[in-house]
C-alpha cells in the first residue's frame, strides 16, 4: 500500500505536469482538489484515464470519482480493493 501511494504520487506529478510539486510535498491524506493540490476538472478526467490505462480500472459511475480522488490514500485504497476483488 505504501509503495502504491508513492507510485500514485509520482504518476500524479508526472501526468498532471505539477512542475513545482515534489513527492514529499504530497501527504497521503492531503486533498487533491480545492485547497490541497488545486487540481481542476481536466485533472479529474486525467486521473480517470490513469486508473484505466495504468491499473485497468474503469469507473462505472463518474460520481464515484469525488470520493475516490479525495486523496492519494483514498485512491490507493480503491485500487487495492478493486485488485483484491
Amino acid at each position: 500500500m505504501t509503495d502504491l501511494k508513492l507510485e500514485l504520487k509520482e504518476k500524479i506529478i508526472e501526468q498532471l505536469n505539477l512542475e513545482d510539486v515534489s513527492v514529499a510535498e504530497i501527504g497521503d491524506k492531503d486533498p487533491l482538489f480545492g485547497e490541497g493540490l488545486g487540481l481542476d476538472s481536466i485533472d479529474a478526467l486525467e486521473l480517470i484515464v490513469m486508473l484505466d490505462k495504468d491499473y485497468g480500472i474503469k469507473l462505472a459511475d463518474p460520481k464515484e470519482g469525488k470520493q475516490i480522488f479525495e486523496s492519494v490514500e483514498t485512491m490507493a485504497a480503491y485500487i487495492t480493493s478493486k485488485k483484491a476483488g
Binding site: 512542475e19 481536466i42 478526467l45
Partner: protein, 201 residues
C-alpha cells in the same frame, strides 16, 4: 490609406531570443523549446498556475502576450492572432493517443488544446480580458489581413486596443510576433510598419 492608429509596443520570440520593442530581454542557448520557454517563464517572473499544463503554442503565446500586457491597464483589448500550423503539434499528440484501438487512451489535458484559439483563452483568463478575439490560419505572416481586421475592430469601437500578430509552433520551431495597436503609439499602424517590425527584429 491614412490611418488614425498606432503601434504602441511589440515583441518577438524566436530562435532562443525574446525581444520587446526592439530590445533583447531574454536569450538562451537551449535548443529544445520546452526548456527554453520554461527558463524564459521563470526568468521573466511570469506567474500563471496553469502554465506547465498548457501546450507549446499556448506557452509561446502566453509569454509573448505577457511581455506586452503585464503593465497594461486597458481591458477592452481585442485579440487577433494568426499562424501557419494551427494547433497541429498538439493535434498529432492527440492522434497518437487514439491511433491504436487496443491502446485508446486520449488525454483530456492534451485534447483541450486541439484548437489554436485556446491560447487566446489562456491569455484572456490571465489578463481578465472579455473582449473580441479571432484566430486566422495563413500560409505565412500576412500584415494585410491583420491590418485590415484590426482597423475594422477599432473603427467599429469593438475595442480600445488590439493585441495582434503571429504565434506559430510546429516540430519544435517557434515564432511569435505580437504588437499592440492603439490610438497613440510610437509607430504609425500601417502594413509597411508591421512588416518592417516583423522582419527587422
Amino acid at each position: 490609406m491614412a490611418t488614425r492608429y498606432h503601434i504602441e509596443q511589440y515583441c518577438r520570440i524566436t530562435n532562443g531570443r525574446i525581444s520587446k520593442n526592439g530590445a533583447l530581454v531574454f536569450e538562451s542557448a537551449e535548443t529544445e523549446f520546452s526548456a527554453f520557454i520554461k527558463t524564459a517563464y521563470k526568468t521573466l517572473g511570469i506567474a500563471y498556475s496553469k502554465f506547465f499544463k498548457m501546450d507549446s503554442l499556448s506557452k509561446l503565446a502566453l509569454v509573448a502576450a505577457d511581455l506586452l500586457l503585464v503593465e497594461e491597464p486597458e481591458k477592452n483589448m481585442a485579440l487577433v492572432f494568426s499562424n501557419n500550423a494551427s494547433s497541429l503539434d498538439t493535434d498529432r499528440k492527440h492522434q497518437q493517443s487514439i491511433q491504436d484501438p487496443d491502446g485508446y487512451f486520449p488525454s483530456p489535458a492534451v485534447f483541450v488544446y486541439t484548437l489554436p484559439n485556446i491560447c487566446m483563452g489562456e491569455i484572456s483568463i490571465k489578463h481578465r480580458l472579455f473582449s473580441e478575439n479571432s484566430f486566422f490560419i495563413n500560409n505565412r505572416f500576412l500584415a494585410d489581413n491583420l491590418f485590415d481586421y484590426t482597423n475594422s475592430l477599432l473603427a467599429m469601437q469593438k475595442a480600445e486596443k488590439v493585441l495582434c500578430g503571429w504565434v506559430d509552433f510546429d516540430h519544435g520551431k517557434y515564432d511569435a510576433f505580437l504588437y499592440v495597436v492603439a490610438k497613440n503609439g510610437t509607430f504609425t499602424h500601417s502594413k509597411e510598419s508591421i512588416n518592417q517590425l516583423y522582419q527587422t527584429i
